[in-house]
C-alpha cells in the first residue's frame, strides 16, 4: 500500500491559489498536478483514470465555466473513485453541503490552516487506497472463481450456505471423503486460509 506513489490533483481557476497549494504540498513531499479549469482536468481524465497512483482531488467549488459541482457530477457519471475535497469561499456553504450529500469526502473553506488541509488530504489518500485495494481484491476473487471446476463451484455454494461436509456429501450424492478433497481445492484456488476469510472475500465481491 505504501509503495504505491501518491498524487493530489488541484483544480482551481486562481493561479496564485494553485501555485501556493503546489508549494505547500511539496513541503510535505506530496506530488501534485494543477489544473486551471474543470475542463482541463477532464481533458486529462483518461490518463488520470489509468494511473496506478493513490490520488485525490482538491476542487474549487466556484469556477467560471464548469463549476466544481458540475465536475463532481461528471466524475460520478464516469464512475470515478477519486475522493474529492472541495475548496469553498465565503458564502458557499449551502453548495458545499450539497456536494457532501452527493458523496464528496469533505470541504475546507478558504483561507485554510495548512494542517487541517494536509490531514484531510491524508485521509482522502487513505480512502482512495482502500477503495483501490477493495477493487483489486474483488478483481482477484473474480479471477480465482474462474479457476474452479463446476463441481467445485457447487461445493463452494453449499459451503457458503454453512453446510457441514456430511450434508454437502448427501446433497451431491458423493462420499464425504470426496467432498473433503473438493473443499481443499476450493480453499487453495480461492487463496483462502480459512472459511471465515473465504466468506469475507465472497461478500465483498457481491457488494
Amino acid at each position: 500500500m505504501t509503495d504505491i506513489p501518491q498524487i493530489v490533483y488541484v483544480v482551481d481557476d486562481d493561479e496564485a491559489v494553485r501555485d501556493s497549494l503546489e508549494l505547500l504540498l511539496s513541503t510535505v513531499g506530496l506530488n501534485s498536478k494543477t489544473y486551471s479549469s474543470a475542463l482541463n482536468f477532464l481533458d486529462d481524465y483518461a490518463h488520470i483514470h489509468q494511473s496506478e497512483q493513490h490520488a485525490c482531488i482538491l476542487l474549487d467549488i466556484r469556477m467560471p465555466g464548469m463549476s466544481g459541482i458540475e465536475l463532481q457530477q461528471t466524475l460520478i457519471e464516469r464512475g470515478s473513485k477519486l475522493p474529492i475535497i472541495f475548496i469553498t469561499g465565503h458564502g458557499d456553504i449551502p453548495m458545499a453541503v450539497k456536494a457532501i450529500q452527493k458523496g464528496a469526502m469533505d470541504f475546507i473553506a478558504k483561507p485554510f490552516h495548512d494542517q487541517d488541509l494536509l490531514d484531510r488530504i491524508q485521509q482522502a489518500l487513505r480512502l482512495h487506497a482502500e477503495r483501490y485495494e477493495a477493487l483489486r481484491d474483488s478483481q482477484q476473487t473474480q479471477q480465482h472463481l474462474l479457476t474452479l471446476t463446476p463441481r467445485e463451484s457447487q461445493v463452494l455454494q453449499l459451503m457458503l450456505a454453512g453446510n457441514a461436509n456430511k450434508v454437502i456429501a448427501a446433497e451431491l450424492s458423493l462420499s464425504q471423503r470426496t467432498i473433503e478433497v473438493h473443499r481443499a481445492h476450493v480453499m487453495e484456488k480461492m487463496h483462502a486460509p480459512s472459511l471465515a476469510l473465504l466468506v469475507q472475500k465472497m461478500s465483498r465481491l457481491e457488494s
Binding site: 496564485a16 501556493s20 505547500l24 469561499g89 458564502g91 478558504k110
Partner: protein
C-alpha cells in the same frame, strides 16, 4: 315577383353596418336600422335633418363647407376612400367609426351614400392592448431599476470572493514558508519565492479594495437635481418587493416641500435600499419590531437628513466601532460590504452617514446631504 323596394329595404336593414343617404345639401334622405341602433335616433328624427347632426365639432360646423367644396372642385377628401372619423350619438356619446362614402347621380342631383362601421369595440381592445403593453413596459423598467439598485449586494459578494483568493494564497504561501524553515538546516533561498508571492498577493488584495472606491467614483458623472421624496418612494416600492409577506410595516414620514438634492439617483437609491434592507433584516430577527420608519426633513436651508429607523435588536457593542469598515458584518450570511460602500457614496456626495441606538430600542441610521441650492452655490 317580389317588389324591388321591399328587397332593397330588407337588404338595407339586414346590414350590420349603418347605411345613410344624403343629398347635395347634406340632408338625410334614408337610413337603415343599424344607423338607428348606432346613434339612438329613430328614422323619423333623422329624415330631412342635416347629417352634421351626427358629427361632433369641428366636423359639425364644417361639413356644409366640405360638401360645397367637393361639388365645386370635384376634389375628393373622403369620397371613394373612407377613413376613421368620430361620430356623435343622440346621447352625446362620441363614437369612433370607419366611414366610407360614395356618390351617385339621381337625375341631375348628386347624392351620397355613407357606410358606417362602429369601431368602439375594436378601439376598446386596442386600448386594452396598449395598456397591457404599457404595464409590461413599466414592469420591465421597474425590474431594471431593481437590479441597478440591488447590484451593490451582488457586488459585495463578488468582492468578498475576489479578495478571498489572494488572502487564501497568502495564508498558504506563509504556511509553506514556515514549513520550509521547520527543518534542521533550512535552505533560506527556498523562502524567496513564497515571500515574493506573499508581497505580490497582498498588493493584489489592495487593488481589489481600490477597485471598490473607483467603482463608486466612476459613477459620479450622473449627478442631477432630484426630488428627494420621489427617490425615497421609488426605493420603498423596490424594498416592498423584498419584504415578501409584508411582515414588516414600512412607514414614511416625509416633510412636505423637501428641497431638491444634487445626486446620482441610482447611487442614492442603492444607499437607501441597503439601509432599508438592513432595517428589515434587523426587524425580522426580533419579535417586537414589526415596523420601520423612513423619514426625511430639511435640517437647514443647506442640508437634508434622511433616517431609517428600526426597532430591531440593535448593534452589539463589539461591532459598533467598526460597523462601517469593509468585511465587518453582524449578519450570518452577510459580506460586510454594504455599509462601507454606503458611507463611501454618501461622503462622495458631500454628506455624512452615521447611526445611533434609539432610546426605545433598535437603531437609527441617518445620512445628511447638501441641498441642490447649496451644492450649486458652492460650485460657483
Amino acid at each position: 315577383m317580389t317588389d324591388t323596394n321591399e328587397q332593397f329595404s330588407a337588404l338595407m336593414n339586414a346590414a350590420v353596418d349603418g347605411i345613410l343617404l344624403i343629398n347635395d345639401r347634406g340632408s338625410i334622405e334614408a337610413v337603415n336600422s343599424a344607423v338607428e341602433r348606432l346613434f339612438g335616433y329613430s328614422k323619423d328624427e333623422l329624415f330631412g335633418k342635416n347629417v352634421s347632426l351626427l358629427m361632433p365639432e369641428p366636423d359639425k360646423s364644417q361639413h356644409d363647407g366640405y360638401l360645397s367644396n367637393y361639388l365645386n372642385s370635384g376634389e375628393a377628401k373622403i369620397i371613394g376612400i373612407g377613413r376613421e372619423v368620430r361620430a356623435r350619438c343622440k346621447s352625446g356619446k362620441i363614437l369612433p367609426i370607419y366611414l366610407s362614402v360614395g356618390d351617385y347621380h339621381d337625375g341631375n342631383q348628386v347624392k351620397f351614400v355613407g357606410i358606417i362601421r362602429d369601431l368602439s369595440q375594436q378601439k376598446t381592445r386596442e386600448a386594452k392592448l396598449a395598456e397591457a403593453e404599457k404595464e409590461i413596459h413599466q414592469l420591465v423598467s421597474h425590474l431594471a431599476q431593481v437590479s441597478r439598485v440591488s447590484v451593490m449586494g451582488e457586488m459585495a459578494a463578488n468582492i468578498a470572493h475576489e479578495i478571498n483568493q489572494p488572502l487564501s494564497a497568502i495564508a498558504t504561501y506563509a504556511q509553506s514558508a514556515r514549513r520550509l524553515l521547520n527543518v534542521a538546516t533550512p535552505d533560506l533561498h527556498t523562502l524567496k519565492k513564497p515571500l515574493d508571492k506573499i508581497a505580490e498577493q497582498a498588493l493584489r488584495a489592495g487593488e481589489i479594495i481600490k477597485g471598490v472606491r473607483t467603482w463608486v467614483r466612476e459613477q459620479d458623472t450622473e449627478r442631477q437635481r432630484c426630488e428627494l421624496d420621489k427617490l425615497i418612494l421609488a426605493v420603498i416600492e423596490i424594498a416592498r418587493l423584498s419584504n415578501e409577506q409584508d411582515e414588516i410595516d414600512i412607514q414614511l414620514e416625509l416633510e412636505p416641500g423637501l428641497p431638491e438634492v444634487m445626486v446620482d439617483p441610482i447611487q442614492l437609491q442603492q444607499v437607501l435600499f441597503n439601509l432599508i434592507r438592513n432595517a428589515l433584516d434587523a426587524s425580522k430577527s426580533c419579535q417586537r419590531a414589526k415596523s420601520i420608519v423612513i423619514s426625511a426633513e430639511a435640517t437647514s436651508t443647506e442640508r437634508v437628513t434622511v433616517r431609517v429607523n428600526d426597532r430591531g435588536a440593535g448593534i452589539d457593542e463589539e461591532a459598533r466601532s467598526r460597523i462601517f469598515e469593509p468585511f465587518v458584518t453582524t449578519k450570518d450570511a452577510g459580506m460586510g460590504m454594504g455599509l462601507s460602500i454606503c458611507k463611501t457614496i454618501i461622503e462622495a456626495h458631500g454628506g455624512e452617514l452615521s447611526y445611533c441606538p434609539r432610546s426605545e430600542g433598535g437603531t437609527s441610521f441617518y445620512f445628511t446631504l447638501p441641498t441642490a441650492i447649496s451644492t450649486s452655490a458652492n460650485s460657483l
